[in-house]
């Protein structure tokens, strides 16, 4: 099993519904977020191009955050999802410094927090909250090892990119372009 997510940059309108859905679903403390929208403008007027990306932890296959964690709090869980075990985390910040996407933060309670791909929902057969709530249906989630999953199908059909693959992280967030 290999969980992954695809985000269609052609459909995303940057409404931030996914951000709010995550904050509600996961009780993210006020002033923090586990996912966010990046708006990229390319070119000079009048030749402009716009891209919206809903970003979060890439659940990297070669995660520097798991590698540098001194206690094993950061670890790979089912389907390659990268998780933090709260009561193993000492809050040293090594994983935060190690993430090239700045996807992690320190929860006010002291441990490190980040996107979990809503593993608690996925285990029940539901989609992650951000995917479920998206009004343009621009996100696809599923198992890459299963050729019939939403994410496998859309990745086969469409061109995509990942973010800074040259950082060697093997990110599992695919941006359809």
């Amino acid at each position: 099993m290999r969980y992954a997510m695809a985000v269609d940059t052609k459909k995303c309108v940057g409404c931030s519904d996914c951000v709010v859905a995550c904050q509600t679903e996961n009780d993210v403390p006020i002033g923090y977020c586990r996912d966010w929208i990046v708006e990229v403008t390319d070119g000079t007027y009048p030749q402009l191009e716009l891209e919206h990306r809903s970003e979060r932890c890439n659940h990297c296959e070669n995660s520097p955050c798991v590698r540098c964690c001194p206690t094993g709090a950061s670890h790979y869980s089912d389907g390659g999802i990268v998780l933090v075990t709260k009561n193993k985390c000492i809050g040293c910040g090594a994983c935060i410094a190690s993430c090239p996407y700045d996807a992690r933060f320190t929860h006010p309670k002291g441990y490190v927090d980040k996107c979990t791909f809503c593993i608690h929902r996925v285990k029940k057969g539901q989609e992650p909250a951000c995917v479920a709530v998206c009004p343009t249906k621009c996100m696809y989630f599923g198992d890459l090892d299963d050729p019939n999953s939403d994410v496998s199908k859309v990745i086969k059909k469409r061109k995509y990119k990942t973010l800074i693959p040259e950082a060697g992280t093997q990110p599992q967030l695919y941006f359809l372009i």
């Binding site: 940057g14 931030s16 951000v19 002033g31 923090y32 977020c33 996912d35 966010w36 929208i37 990046v38 708006e39 990229v40 403008t41 390319d42 070119g43 000079t44 919206h52 520097p64 590698r67 540098c68 964690c69 001194p70 206690t71 094993g72 709090a73 009561n87 193993k88 985390c89 000492i90 809050g91 040293c92 910040g93 090594a94 935060i96 410094a97 190690s98 993430c99 090239p100 700045d102 992690r104 933060f105 320190t106 309670k109 002291g110 441990y111 973010l163 800074i164 040259e166 950082a167 060697g168």
Partner: protein, 313 residues
């Protein structure tokens, strides 16, 4: 032209607008670790060489302070943790790929050894010292016989500790300024140089001071070479490392780095040490004090600037 904006708002404390997860604690901890490593290296090296009487400060006096330095470093590390109650988790796991884990265990191993070394030599500092209890006296007597193996273990661990202070940072590929394998050797040499400086400050014998001034001079030369080598590597590397080095080559850290760290922390003390060795009249405290100051500042600058450097995407 390209402009990237986070439009949903993201202001995660210590992450945005720019990473600031490590404040003063970590660079201070790296400095103390390097300093202790330097002192312990010289203590064990000259002990093994049978030069205890020639270099009493290096072998006996200076190491008495190392358990305190390491202990203080651990206190700083502890203060930096955000989930403090779980501190002990560091010692229920050993993660071979995590420099932080290596460092925590190395400190745990070297701290008792340096404590034993200090106990064995405490009479150099306090001639009237009395252990009071017979058990302790007996233990000390037993340990006296194992001085050589203890020194060997200390020497090896001190090199690991010294190099670890750099590897801790260089292992982060997410921060291009740190991501160079030169940083390990550079921090090791710089730590040894601060160790030599501390010995010079504590030493009362002119001959010993001169030896360590000569050692320090060599270390400063190696440091300069490594620094230049590091920037050459950055300049010839990918865009992210070119950008990272630009902070020191025209960017906001240029003045403090080249004037204070390289100028006052390396070149001026080197010049003073040469003068001192030629028996010119210079107050001998100045050069080592500058070396210590430069070493501390170097770690602060590297810690802060490194967190500013990042990948572009």
């Amino acid at each position: 032209m390209r402009e990237e904006l986070i439009v949903s708002g993201r202001m995660n404390p210590h992450i945005d607008p720019q990473l600031e997860i490590w404040e003063w604690h970590i660079p201070a901890y790296l400095f103390l670790g390097g300093l202790a490593a330097g002192i312990l290296f010289f203590a064990s090296y000259f002990f093994i060489k049978g030069k205890s009487d020639e270099y009493p400060t290096a072998v006996k006096l200076a190491p008495i302070f190392t358990p305190l330095l390491i202990g203080l470093g651990l206190v700083f590390l502890f203060l930096d943790l955000k989930h403090k109650l779980y501190f002990w988790r560091l010692y229920t796991a050993f993660k071979i790929e995590s420099p932080m884990s290596w460092g925590a265990w190395t400190l745990m191993a070297i701290m008792p050894l340096s404590g034993i070394w200090a106990a064995l030599n405490i009479k150099t500092l306090f001639p009237k010292w009395d252990w009071k209890f017979d058990v302790v006296k007996d233990a000390i007597k037993v340990l006296e016989d194992y001085k050589t193996p203890i020194a060997w273990a200390m020497m090896i661990l001190s090199v690991i500790l010294g190099i670890y202070t750099g590897i801790l940072l260089s292992a982060f590929n997410a921060r291009p300024l740190w991501n160079t394998s030169i940083l390990g050797p550079l921090f090791l040499v710089s730590g040894m140089s601060t160790g030599a400086a501390a010995i010079i400050i504590l030493s009362k014998s002119k001959a010993e001071r001169h030896t360590f001034a000569r050692i320090d001079l060599l270390l400063i030369a190696i440091e300069l070479f490594l620094i230049i080598h590091m920037f050459m590597g950055f300049r010839a590397s990918s865009q992210v490392q070119i950008d990272a080095s630009a902070m020191f080559l025209g960017g906001q850290f240029t003045a403090v780095f080249w004037v204070l760290v390289v100028g006052f922390g390396l070149l001026i003390p080197a010049a003073l040490e040469v003068m001192e060795m030629r028996n010119k009249k210079v107050p001998y405290m100045v050069a080592p004090a500058l070396v210590l100051f430069g070493g501390l500042l170097f770690r602060f600058i590297m810690a802060y600037a490194g967190q500013m450097s990042r990948w572009l995407y």
